[in-house]
Symmetry: D2
Subunit: 454 residues, 4 copies
């Protein structure tokens, strides 16, 4: 079988998922995890005397069976039921005793929601690990390029100078906030479910809460205070979190894409060996990884609307809202994982061209350093006049393609207050870096604090 969805394509799947998320979400991985939940449920039901000990033991031992997935599919289509296919195929592999007590009293959503909790837990761990790697790369860049001057740009136009280390620190700070978000969300999200048909655990008399508690403990999950069969806030929060993270990664990718433009050339991806940029244009080196980060973020973002819509679940179970999760959870998760891995890889090999950064700054001929001159004029001329003077000099300079310093130095109203030497000094880019170093240090310290925490 080959895939309809691009994440399942044997040709393109590697760009849209990762091996570990494929294993997590494909039929094989999902079925294996469901079997383990079924096995754990039986074990705990045996402990509590809800089902016979023999049956419990047999089912509990079936958690590692490899079922025939085509047969599961066939029985699923025959029964029209989301889980009966799995149950029937499993029952064929068990002795009669066990077979009769499989999944006793539980419903599909008990298994699928508990699996969703496990999946969210695992995805948060993946995000934490990869964001950690990304943050380390960014902090290293921040530290290494603390003084690497480059143009700051606003609205796509040259602004004041920054350093590349500062840019990396801003990215690292955002990454750090995501790590904090994940840490805070984890205990709220990693909560399973054993609710029964309408959320009341009706099948197990008064043993439901204890059964649920033990099952979740065994699976490493929290137990909910009340059914979340139609309370999907955890799923929505999780999906929004993935979109927040991949949005940041897309921002970094977009920045590399733009700064890799031939006309700018400040950053570039390390091309993988053997890679061909274009079949018709042999000279091409495209920022493919960076671009893909933006693509993946869009895909994840589109899932958030679905997740939020799913909050409006009807009554005690709502198929339309719940089954939509089957479509967006694997997609958003695999795409987010691909983005995390891709961003880690991109940053590990990011090439920084200090000379080009400096050259681009210098190519502005001082126009990027109008602010300090204006500020220095304010006490003498007032703010409005100061703005007007520098604006006029900038216009003159630009029209005649001359350095701003020359244009300013030829204006007696300026030089009356700031002689050419003073202007030249004011316009040294290093003078306009403000709190760049402090910000880099703050971000480093904060990250260390978080890492050092227990």
């Amino acid at each position: 079988m080959t895939g309809v969805d691009v994440a399942d394509s044997v040709v393109y799947g590697h760009l849209w998922s990762t091996p570990e998320t494929r294993d997590l979400f494909d039929d094989r991985g999902r079925t294996r995890a469901w079997l383990q939940i079924i096995a754990a449920l039986a074990a705990v039901q045996g402990e509590l005397g809800i089902i016979p000990a023999d049956a419990a033991e047999e089912i509990a031992g079936a958690g590692d069976l490899e079922l025939d997935l085509d047969a599961v599919g066939e029985e699923t289509r025959r029964s029209g039921h989301s889980m009966l296919g799995l149950i029937r195929v499993l029952q064929r592999r068990l002795r009669a005793d066990g077979a009769e007590w499989v999944h006793h009293g539980a419903t599909v959503q008990d298994v699928s929601d508990t699996w969703t909790a496990l999946v969210m837990q695992r995805m948060l761990a993946i995000a934490r690990r990869d964001l950690g790697t990304i943050e380390r790369s960014l902090l290293a860049l921040a530290d290494e390029h603390r003084d690497t001057l480059m143009l700051g740009r606003t609205h796509g136009q040259p602004g004041l100078p920054i350093t590349f280390g500062f840019k990396a620190a801003v990215w690292a700070a955002e990454t750090g906030r995501h790590l904090e978000r994940i840490a805070a969300a984890e205990p709220r999200l990693a909560v399973g479910q054993l609710a029964g048909a309408v959320g009341t655990q009706s099948s197990w008399g008064d043993q439901g809460p204890e059964l649920q508690r033990r099952l979740m403990e065994r699976l490493g999950l929290g137990a909910p205070d009340a059914s979340w069969l139609t309370a999907r806030d955890r799923v929505a929060e999780f999906t929004a979190l993935l979109a927040l993270v991949t949005g940041t990664l897309a921002k970094i990718g977009n920045e590399v894409y733009n700064l890799q433009r031939a006309e700018i050339g400040e950053l570039s991806e390390t091309p993988a060996p053997g890679v061909v940029g274009s079949i018709t244009m042999p000279q091409k080196q495209n920022p493919e990884r960076s671009e893909q980060l933006w693509t993946l973020a869009r895909v994840v973002r589109a899932s958030v609307g679905l997740a939020l819509e799913g909050l409006v679940g009807e009554h005690e179970r709502d198929g339309a809202a719940w089954k939509t999760e089957w479509a967006f959870l694997p997609r958003a998760s695999t795409a987010a994982a691909a983005a995390l891995a891709g961003a880690a890889d991109l940053l590990a090999g990011l090439r920084v061209d200090r000379d080009r950064m400096r050259a681009n700054l210098d190519a502005q001929q001082g126009h990027a350093l109008a602010e300090p001159v204006m500020l220095a004029l304010v006490p003498h001329t007032g703010r409005q006049r100061a703005h007007a003077l520098v604006h006029r000099a900038a216009s003159v300079g630009r029209r005649s393609n001359r350095p701003l310093l020359e244009a300013l130095a030829s204006d007696p109203e300026v030089t009356a207050h700031l002689p050419p030497d003073a202007l030249a000094d004011l316009m040294r880019p290093e003078r306009s870096l403000g709190a760049v170093a402090a910000a880099i240090d703050d971000v480093l310290v904060r990250a260390q604090g978080r890492t050092a925490a227990p």
Copy 2:
């Protein structure tokens, strides 16, 4: 291999796609279609003397080869190029002459965009066919239930009576408008592309337009006036069209879901034989098909935002915008096809319970027929007083659980103008059907007109 995406699941895929759309979009189907485009291109290039005749003949004959998709995947990963994998594996199957002239001067997007046009053309044909089936079912229901009285409901509350045929006619009218939209869009959307690297057809000197014209003619597509490498309005229009169609199907599904409620019971799905509603609640019959229509519509809708975002393509080719299509086009198309097939199936087996419809109307004890009484009072009392009188009687009736007629008949201010007999006559539901029959006829006539058109 098993699928990560639910449309690729061997267990659940049947609910999220159809066999014909799987064949269209999976690696096998896509690769086959791409090969046929490559073959057609070579054939036309041979005709025009752009490539040697021998090579053209060989490549043109390769359109039906079954390539080793794993090998294509491996070469794709090795080259990091979206199409070089396919080219290399194809070249291995050709003699040297042919191999050198495969896909001469063209780029990935020439093939993938032309394929996209073919896919859109095919999907519109599928939608047309299935909407035609759906429309016929609806028109038959409209005709059959032209006089089947039921409650109209607004804001979830009883309104005036309608007939079920009227409801079906409203659905049919909307379906008919979609058929008109599809017919109007088809020539605009089924347009291929042979643009070359930057849209200028640079590889073929001045032969580009003729080459493109002949290629598209051979493939049954239109030729564009200018490159659409970063002009994705056709793709966005197509995706919006799928969402419009599936939105309507979801509306029908939602209506069946609600009218199948045990407390209402007016419509119901025919359960497929062998289907199990619930493993814990053996009595259950769920409106599964109806629910799934809403789920699928959400999935399609989520793609529209991506398609519209893709309109903002940068420069002459934009990877981030274009590759997003790889994720949403198959998904939106397969989900739409599943919805079309599901809706056709649902309507073919829809059970209409006339007795329950009538009983629910009667259970309102005439409160659903307050409007005609109010209107009949207006000439006597003025509108505001008429509204107040009937509102008061309705409140009295509801509080005392009595028929509205009784409550009205006991109010002398009402009976001064409308004696009980007149009231009873006014409140016959048949009297309040307004233009129901005319609307049904109009819809039937309009549909016949469209079908009869050439």
Copy 3:
């Protein structure tokens, strides 16, 4: 002036905003808040000797001026600059000294982002307050209706019994999780910004961090470690949080809407006095408040995509991403506030019809109580046979419109194991409530724990 946007309509605005959020977001409120930030900045700049003490004092005293907003608009259009209009009109109200030092060294985004932080802080407080009210209503309902039997429903169909208190407890648990989310997010979101043109605080030499620290302290906000000019994760998180909250409220609204259907009649809104349901149908009572909760949630949800897209900010300032916030932040906030107020109001007046709940349960003639019979049969017949037996009886019962108990009692294969008395006992709804009481208690305890926390 009258509004284009429905929140600004003099006719409909009350349904789409609240007085306190109108005051927060309209031109008057925003301008006032911006002036106060400008005043506070000057005060701190005076303290630190960055601007002359006289100027500082004058500007610091101008925080409560009422500016001519039409003049601000005119200057804004003339200058084409987002903030120069405000500055110029303010300067006219100051002596020359002060005028020259207004907003010294800061940029638009310093003010607008700090305002955004204040707004998010205020909105979280509003949400906390209103969710607190809502939670108290829900807990009271949970407690009062702990034993009020009603049908649980799944897929729109009768399931097992629950109690209305249980339903309210599930809602309360979700509301409680939102309260936890808000408490956790508040310190992360209520963080202002004084970044200067490119984020480096370049205008203030090395005084930037201290200046920012003091300013934010004065405003009751946190200070960021690095610029967030193009790091909009806080805004995206905030918007997602509003959508999570309103999604839950929409769920409650949708439930009331459905349970208020005439055919169900278990819950209903208290109509406000004087309200007219329909001008043509005088008998109408529509669940208007409930419906509006769903409408508002959609509006808020649509903002989340915009907020997430805004994460991809370019370089050191990105106008397209940032200005989109101007459109969605007020809209999402006012709609969320309207939903919070509306839900609080709806729940305060919610009517619960115990008799109808019981009647609807009884109308199922025991079919909603198939599960316990099936479970009781399992030890005797095995699970599959048990399911088949009860399923058969349910089908027979439904076809002949007889109680399930009768159908079961007439099947010797059933009565062989469960005599009629045992069946009748099993099918008492109270027996199938499972952990309902425990869940209600858990939710109550957890809410008390949160309230008791410091």
Copy 4:
């Protein structure tokens, strides 16, 4: 009153709406239009003898009254009804006879949906007019810059040469397709509604269809075949159309934004006189109009999801779906109008720097012209070897910062087939323009054809 929504802001509203759309959508404009519908309805009802002639005449004459909107708001809040406020305030202005027959037998949605149809009709006319202006600008640019060489760019990297005229022609072709879409959609969308409470025109006996036909004729609208109270496909199609159009405008804006980068400098906005780019950086000239096009497109796009969700209307009237239109229709329309006006303005003043275009092309030192060399080698060396040879030369050239021609000319394997003169000739950019001129002509001819059509 000042606005909460940015379109209603007295400070910023001009960037988010246009005067004509403000007049269309604000309370004043909407109320005026509603009054005119009410007046027209009365006139036709008089003609048909449905209401007394005197009353008809009076109401028909009230279409131009200016009502007290605050009073309308007050009555709206008091009655809790969307339209009763308007009716009551209107009634106060009429003699008793007229007052009693206002809006006889019709419902809110009859007026509001008919208004929606008028609004869609008007917006399509605005879009047609402004897109016409935009298309003319683009065609003029295409013609003028038919031979203006510039770099084509793919994935943000230099590709082959194009001309700026070609780029403009691609934009014009897309604009032209939108004009075709609008022309095709107009008769389908400009369809009013007179449906009554549940869509059956129940109030008017068998006169409903004729009443509706005459009313719509009077208003310049089509009459529907059946009620569209819960068939909102027209509204969804309209909103998607606005998003398609503004998406294209955003693409143009984004291209100007990028090509205005100081490092590229090929296009630029004409700054309006008096405009200030930055208060801290006096040298700044930002592409503000271009940026705003992208912002506005996002806002419009966010409405499409809401419109599509609204397709799932329940029963005969669905408040949640319908009232959402109140929020998104004005917003999407005003934003689209602002984008159309902004794009027309941007293009009217677009500055094209031919020298910079040429210089950026030349700065690639021939690397952008690798394709023709590769193609010329194919007959001699085969395709793979040709790609490898040129790729190697490009790498050498880039590493040593030398022209590609030099690098190729120093490779004997290349010069064996292509001597330096031949290489130089192949690498003239004019030789690689392919079908640029033909595409420009095709687009011009097609646009002329459409304009010439009746």
